[in-house]
């Protein structure tokens, strides 16, 4: 049977890669420490597979065809296409077709109908945290892309339901596998909006406080009411909601939170409590 060995979350942002050399030493130090601690924990968990929850930054999908949810069930996925991610290795990431397909089939026999892909390109959303975590060995990846850029999107209530389904799917996977979940994105930030560069620190801290306590209905209420006003990048907190539900809502340990206008993002890093 598969075992859920860790659930983590990390913010991402293009400037953390593109402008790294321009960031202050203090900010680079905090960011490196947070990503590094997540990498250390993920390595210590001996995870063989990472289920990666991320948005798609117009990398795989466009207005022609824009799934709310898409599961990568291929043997391999492409690395990030962004020029500022050119140093990312490996250039292609090994998938886990059997686990991906099991999650998909579990969803289709339950209350979700995700799209599928045999080869996704994984952009900075997932690959920036993976890169900064400096993992000694890259686990297999089952990417799950959630539409968090173009409305309408999954409600937060549905994200919690999706997280519960993900937990059940991993628990019911018959093959032995150590599985971790990595949610990326958020917290508050704005891209291409007049508030670009602003961070809603108050919202972020209320959000983190509710996540730490684990109270699901409070979180859903806060996110449904507040996330839309914390910048369009805050839609990515959906990944945190999925992770929270997958962890069974037991709360989490906040590793760091940095409101970082230099990279336009309220950056947060966390590990959920399991069992």
């Amino acid at each position: 049977m598969a075992e859920l060995v860790g659930i983590y979350a990390a913010s991402h942002g293009p400037l953390i890669a593109r402008d790294w050399h321009r960031l202050s030493d203090a900010l680079k130090g905090r960011l490196s420490a947070a990503y590094g601690e997540l990498g250390r924990r993920l390595s210590a968990s001996a995870a063989e597979v990472i289920v990666g929850l991320a948005p798609d930054h117009w990398t795989n999908f466009f207005l022609d065809n824009l799934p709310s949810l898409c599961i990568g069930i291929g043997e391999e996925h492409g690395g990030p296409p962004e020029p500022y991610m050119r140093d990312f290795t490996p250039k292609a990431l090994t998938g886990d077709p059997e686990l991906g397909r099991h999650i998909l089939e579990t969803a289709l026999t339950s209350e979700f109908e995700p799209a599928l892909s045999y080869r996704l390109r994984l952009d900075h959303g997932l690959c920036l945290p993976l890169s900064r975590m400096k993992l000694p060995r890259m686990p297999r990846i089952v990417p799950i892309l959630i539409n968090e850029l173009e409305p309408p999107m999954l409600s937060y209530r549905r994200c919690f339901a999706w997280g519960g389904l993900l937990r059940r799917a991993i628990a019911s996977y018959a093959k032995p596998a150590r599985v971790a979940i990595l949610a990326t994105g958020g917290l508050s930030h704005s891209i291409g909006e007049p508030t670009m560069g602003e961070i809603d620190e108050d919202f972020d801290r209320r959000c983190l406080d509710a996540l730490a306590r684990g109270e699901e209905s409070e979180l859903i209420d806060l996110l449904e009411r507040g996330a839309g006003r914390a910048g369009n990048g805050a839609h990515e907190i959906r990944n945190w909601a999925v992770a929270h539900a997958a962890a069974g809502g037991r709360g989490f340990e906040l590793l760091d939170y940095l409101p970082a206008p230099e990279v336009y993002v309220g950056c947060a890093y966390a590990a959920w409590r399991l069992a």
Partner: protein, 92 residues
């Protein structure tokens, strides 16, 4: 509602080679997209405020990044078009 062809232009320019071609000859690239006249004019004028109403904000940001507009300039133009979008946030 989104302007499909403007969105498609911005999406296509995510490809670095296409963005290079666009920077060298905007008119030639624009001929491939059936943009409405007022949209085409706004593109040629780098009219951030006008275009912001028509496409996804991420695509808008990608587009102006691809054409080489510095973020500070881009953000200033966005704010000029909507000077008070949200109360009390930490500004970078």
């Amino acid at each position: 509602m989104r302007d499909y062809w403007l969105s498609k232009l911005c999406f296509d320019l995510l490809e670095p080679a296409r963005a290079r071609e666009y920077r060298q000859d905007r008119e030639a690239v624009l001929k491939r997209y059936p943009l409405k006249p007022e949209v085409r004019a706004a593109v040629l004028d780098d009219d951030v405020a006008f275009l912001a109403r028509l496409i996804n904000p991420y695509l808008l940001r990608f587009y102006f990044s691809a054409v080489g507009m510095p973020d500070a300039d881009f953000i200033a133009r966005l704010r000029a078009a909507d000077p008070n979008p949200r109360p009390a946030a930490r500004r970078g």
